[in-house]
Symmetry: C2
Subunit: 331 residues, 2 copies
């Protein structure tokens, strides 16, 4: 199948073609990369835009359970839902996140759903580009909502927030001084905090946790992109499927306001600029990842470590090498 | 003065020549950079090595006061002391750190001391390289101890630890739940924690804080580069000049052990390799900092933000441009 045909099938919403296109954007091969750019460029012309929701939370907070329940609720409303993941640990685990498709048993069997695990990659920069491209493919394929999941361990939330229209933080009910557990930086990124597991015995502590966070959010500086009352903290139970329609109503209200007030397009524009810059930086650094460059870096690094060469001189040698390679390859 | 003469004067310990050489390594100009590399390479042959001590602490904890008192104590022992700074905020403030030479009034008038404020730079990568080069110059000039100060606000501690033989964290006595204030990552970098201001009314709380941190340090995983009892927490008073000789004794014990057990050289070797790699990365990214490249990045970024071009395509255009420039410049 050539790239034109692939792009057309994706545009018609063909899920197998979409899966194939995602594989293409995930590939590290240069020819695949060139094809991917062509496909993405064709599909950019569709002008379709989904609602991109970033979702994060610590392990066990209930992300998978929530996505299953929330996704099914959206499907019931006639919306098409794609689920992607940015897994900061995939370098080690080989892409474990969303490997638990079993936890999204119902959703994965829906015709209106597309679930894709995180690509295994060695660094977050690479995962970020691939996920972002996958988001663009899902949009072109006509999905209405794209959920981008990440485990909350630091840097990956920022990456997800940089490619989403809004950021949802999932929390668990807590006993003691739970506010300590969430980094201020992460809280400042959140548009909506959902305290999950607000059911059974946990309901009381969920309610307290929710009130604590609502209070903490009020202390944050007001951002221009927030309507009155946002960011907001709410309770949900992914297991009991309660609070989900209320959460969706808040999301719609927030996004509606942002669209009307120019913040939605403004954010997308700045994100596109950011990713362009990031692509350029990553590509410049990628020169160091060829087998030859790695071998040379290792050899020079050894000489530096043995004290035979100052770091600055070795760096100059390495850069001269890279220039010679790029000159002789005629690029 | 040519580079040879400059290098010779630095090697003889001439402080004015040293100041000039530091200015050279701080310069952004390409010809200065080339001269700096030549000077550094010449001076690397001296094989001199100072004890490099990284020092960090939040604003107001007493870093300047401590450096003055500690430095004077070292001077009294016949040691030559250089003080450098890595200021993460210098992009904004234009290099405020150690601008308070007045706080180091006595030390700055000593013939055996050299104090240099942080260079004003736009990014930490650049500051890091310049400070590291300045450290090498101070070593070649025969200083025995090089103190590298930074305000503790996150990333800059890591940079300082990466260029020091050991890392000292300065803390203030605290009322309540102070342990919360120090990031776990920062504590894990510390070889020695000094609770400052252990004098007057503050002595009791200093003692409690010190015990708290000693306890916390015991909970950390043992590192191969630590002798029995390290990392360690101690009390000092920079104002009253108490605890300083004790702190120096611990530093000497730690460094002596590391030297004997190969950790000192091992750490230096790995640091040199790290800085070589970092130099290469920074140089690759520096291509984006020429006026032409910045203008082109801005124009392409605008097109991307307006939605006229996908980020990936714009990145390819930019990279093609950079290749054309480097090909035509014959480099
Ligand atoms: N009581 C209760 N339990 C829940 C709820 N949501 C999830 N759980 C339980 O919490 C556990 C973890 O749920 P997951 O959905 O796998 O959590 P996760 O955030 O995806 O975890 P990782 O994939 O490991 O990061 C499971 O045992 C779920 O059954 C809820 O709303 N209420
Ligand atoms: N009581 C007491 N006060 C001290 C001590 N050391 C410093 N101070 C006081 O603490 C204040 C801050 O001291 P500095 O040395 O300027 O602190 P710093 O960490 O350099 O601060 P920045 O440069 O702003 O990051 C001053 O008022 C000092 O006089 C000490 O050992 N005991
Ligand atoms: Mg999960
Ligand atoms: Mg100071």
């Amino acid at each position: 199948m050539d790239t034109l045909e692939l792009a057309e099938k994706v545009e018609r919403g063909d899920r197998r073609a979409l899966a194939r296109a995602v594989t293409l954007v995930e590939s590290g091969r240069a020819d695949h990369r060139a094809e991917a750019v062509t496909v993405l460029e064709r599909l950019a012309k569709t002008g379709r835009q989904a609602l991109r929701i970033g979702l994060s939370g610590t392990p066990g907070v209930g992300k998978s359970t929530f996505i299953e329940a929330f996704g099914m609720m959206l499907i019931a409303r006639g919306l098409r839902v794609a689920v992607l993941a940015v897994d900061p640990s995939s370098a080690r685990s080989g892409g474990s996140i969303l490997g638990d498709k079993t936890r999204m048993d119902r959703l994965s069997r829906e015709a209106g759903a597309f679930i894709r695990p995180s690509p295994s990659q060695t660094h977050l920069g690479g995962v970020a580009r691939r996920t972002r491209d996958a988001v663009a493919l899902c949009e072109a394929a006509g999905f209405d909502v794209v959920l981008i999941e990440t485990v909350g361990v630091g840097q990956s939330e920022t990456v997800v927030a940089e490619m989403a229209d809004m950021f949802v933080l999932l929390l668990a009910p807590a006993g003691g001084d739970e506010l300590q557990g969430v980094k201020r930086g992460i809280m400042e990124m959140a548009d909506l905090i959902l305290v999950n597991k607000a059911d059974g015995d946990l309901k009381t502590s969920a309610s307290r946790t929710c009130a604590d966070y609502a209070g903490a959010l009020r202390l944050l500086r007001k951002r221009p992109q927030d309507p009155e009352g946002f960011p907001k903290a709410m309770m949900v139970s992914a297991a009991q499927e309660t609070g989900l329609t209320e959460a969706w109503a808040e999301i719609e209200a927030l996004i509606g306001w942002r669209r009307e007030n120019g913040h939605w397009q403004g954010r997308r524009a700045e994100q596109a600029r950011f990713w362009f810059q990031e692509d350029v930086r990553q590509a410049l650094l990628a020169q160091l990842q060829t087998p030859d460059a790695r071998a040379r870096m290792r050899a020079l690094g050894d000489a530096v470590a043995r004290g035979e060469m100052p770091p600055g001189r070795a760096a100059q040698d390495m850069l001269a090498d890279l220039r010679a390679v790029s000159a002789s390859s005629g690029k």
